[in-house]
């Protein structure tokens, strides 16, 4: 059996196997809350939740793996994050199927959820703990594309992104000032990638943005997303 979703472990650009059917896309959060009882002894959630045996799962989506503040991760998980593992639905699904398979060396001693339906429901529930802004879904609109994994998984080069971004910041101000044109700094990379592709594919229809993105390759979009994510 192959790991359906993985991330790029190096600068090499393509991997990824058969596109899976994203069952997790339509889980039931209420049912997921019941599944979560199996997690609760190690993971705290909700307002003021801190870390326990495992990190809090508040705002987990869109987050780089191994980066919840104050939690001591295994080296394996930190390395995975540094190599580009970001918690999106697909990676979360793979992880909770069997944590040690996606991230060998993780300290999470949970054997996994075998049933796809349980995983889908749990993911739907965990989404309720991630405010839209943190997830970047605040930046998304209906009609934005579902991008193939090989695009979402690209790891952008920040230095190249900085150069490319010089053309964005003619209009999008660095800093949080918005004057009729939205601020784009600090967006989670997956949201930025999705939105840029939405313009490139003409799912969104601002002609300046279509023009700007029309000349960008997938790698260049990843680079921009990586750079803007670093700004505060």
């Amino acid at each position: 059996m192959n790991i359906l979703h993985t991330w790029i472990a190096s600068a090499a650009l393509a991997i990824v196997t058969v596109a899976p059917i994203p069952v997790f896309a339509d889980g039931d959060p209420d049912a997921g809350e019941r599944v979560f009882r199996r997690c609760i002894s190690c993971h705290a959630i909700g307002p003021d939740a801190g870390n326990k045996v495992g990190p809090t799962l508040n705002e987990i989506f869109g987050r780089v793996a191994g980066t919840v503040e104050g939690f001591r991760y295994s080296r394996a998980l930190v390395a995975a994050g540094q190599e580009g593992l970001v918690w999106d639905d697909a990676n979360m699904d793979a992880f909770i199927t069997r944590p040690a398979r996606l991230v060998p060396g993780t300290r999470m001693s949970f054997s996994g959820l075998r049933k796809a339906e349980d995983r889908a429901n749990l993911i739907a529930f965990l989404h309720t703990l991630t405010p839209e802004t943190a997830m970047g879904t605040a930046h998304l609109v209906p009609g934005d594309p579902e991008l193939p994994d090989e695009i979402m998984a690209l790891v952008g080069d920040v230095a190249y992104g900085q150069y490319l971004a010089s053309s964005c910041v003619t209009c999008h101000q660095v800093g949080n000032t918005e004057s009729n044109i939205p601020s784009i700094i600090g967006w989670p990379a997956p949201a930025m990638v999705t939105v840029l592709h939405a313009y490139k594919n003409k799912n969104r229809d601002n002609d300046v943005m279509q023009q700007q993105t029309g000349t960008l390759s997938n790698e260049e979009i990843a680079a921009l997303a990586a750079y803007f994510e670093t700004l505060e």
Binding site: A11, Y163, S167, T170, Q173, V174, S179, N180, I181, Q211
Partner: protein, 422 residues
């Protein structure tokens, strides 16, 4: 050692530093020195990016006579009454705070052998790399009867500030039913839609203050930027107030008499109340003095870096450059400045360089909430900056689209001025 850019792109690798070894200039005072002449759209941006991205490794001096830069962009909106002059003024305090040595003086000469720039106030400034973005100057004798000494009677208002204020005062003082004439420039010139946006703004003013006024455009060009969009807008908003006289009807055979306030169109003399003469243009004079311009009056540059063809240590940006397909606009100058800043940093400190890419968008306002735009992307080829693709607003767009375009232009104005001045 030069990287093959096509090969670079073809490799599909997102980024790589050039393989060239750092060529740190061992100047007498250690740090490499960049001097920038002109603190406008091109120069301010280049100075800021080099200072910001080199983290203090490069000494940046900006030479600019004015303490306040008034943008030409949106100066037409001032004429239309949408902006005040103060909102177009920007100071250099932010650049100074970035560590840039801002010298308020004129550059009056460049010694390319000694690599120094002479200042009007005396003394000179040494450089390892010199960047010039001095904007435009007017060609002598371009419009018969007009020279710089007539600019009070017949303003050009094509450098923003007091000229713009003068033109505005003349428009405001125009007698009811009077005539406003514009002598439009031949190609190439700063801001291709600029004269026609200006006509729109004057018409907007007249419609509300002087509805029987007439507006004449005397144009040596057979066609102009966004022509269909402007003419459609003029017909919708301003009836037959505006008359465009192209070369077929003598628009290319115009002389003026500033004393008598007359224009002569191919032998036919017309009395006018305001006359906006926008003469043919050339590179800012200092580029010519540095010997980097050609017979046409512009400075040919290498599209990959904006270095002049005449001198690899002198770069020319913006309106003064002859680069290929990009229009002479603030947006273009800003875009070119970023490529140049990267190339100059790379040459002086060995920092990573990437293949040059450029873009431009020009927004224009036809009437309240009726904005249009034209834009394109460009790449560097060996002989020119070449357009790769573009877009333009369409005739018949709905009101919401046009209003959004105008709102977007305001965002762009705030964005680019922040990008220039920090």
């Amino acid at each position: 050692m030069k990287l093959d850019r096509r090969g670079f792109l073809g490799a599909g690798v997102a980024a790589a530093a050039t393989a060239s070894a750092p060529m740190v200039m061992a100047g007498s005072h250690g740090k490499p020195k960049v001097v920038v002449i002109g603190g406008g759209a091109g120069g301010a941006t280049a100075a800021r990016y080099i200072a910001k991205d080199s983290g203090g490794a490069i000494d940046v001096t900006l030479i600019e006579p004015s303490r306040t830069y008034y943008t030409c962009f949106f100066s037409n909106l001032y004429l239309g009454g949408y902006r005040d002059m103060a909102s177009l003024g920007h100071s250099y305090g932010g650049l100074a705070a970035q560590g840039i040595n801002v010298v308020h003086d004129w550059a009056i000469g460049v010694d390319r052998d000694a690599k120094t720039v002479a200042l009007a106030g005396g003394g000179s400034v040494p450089y390892d790399k010199l960047i010039m973005s001095p904007g435009i100057d007017f060609r002598d004798g371009a419009v018969e009867g007009w020279d710089l000494s007539s600019q009070n009677a017949m303003p050009h208002a094509y450098k923003a500030g007091s000229q713009t204020e003068l033109l505005k005062a003349q428009i405001d003082a125009m007698p009811q039913g009077g005539t406003f004439a514009m002598v439009a420039p031949p190609n190439p010139f700063r801001c291709p839609p600029g004269p026609y946006e200006r006509i729109s703004m004057v018409a907007h003013h007249m419609k509300n203050n002087n509805p029987t006024a007439k507006i004449l455009i005397l144009d040596p060009k057979a066609k102009f930027s966004k022509q269909g969009l402007f003419q459609d807008g003029w017909a919708r908003h301003y009836g037959n107030m505006i008359e465009w006289i192209g070369p077929d009807f003598g628009g290319d055979m115009v002389s003026v008499d500033p004393g008598a306030m007359e224009v002569n169109i191919d032998g036919e003399v017309t009395k006018v109340d305001v006359c906006n003469v926008i003469p043919a243009m050339k590179a800012g004079r200092i580029a010519e003095l540095a010997g980097v311009t050609n017979e046409a009056g512009w400075a040919p540059v290498d599209p990959h870096t904006m270095a002049t063809r005449a001198d690899g240590d002198i770069y020319v940006l913006g309106d003064s450059s002859q680069q290929g397909d990009m229009p002479k606009s603030g947006f273009s100058a800003n875009s070119q400045a970023k490529v140049c800043a990267m190339a100059v940093r790379g040459a002086l400190t060995g920092s990573a360089t990437f293949p040059a890419r450029f873009s431009n968008t020009c927004w224009s306002l036809i009437e309240t909430d009726d904005g249009i735009k034209v834009g394109a992307s460009y790449e560097a080829t060996d002989d020119k900056i070449a357009k790769t693709s573009g877009f333009v607003s369409q005739v018949g767009e709905d009101d919401a689209t046009r209003a959004a375009t105008y709102q977007e232009s305001i965002g762009w104005y705030d964005g680019i001025t922040a990008d220039m001045f920090g």
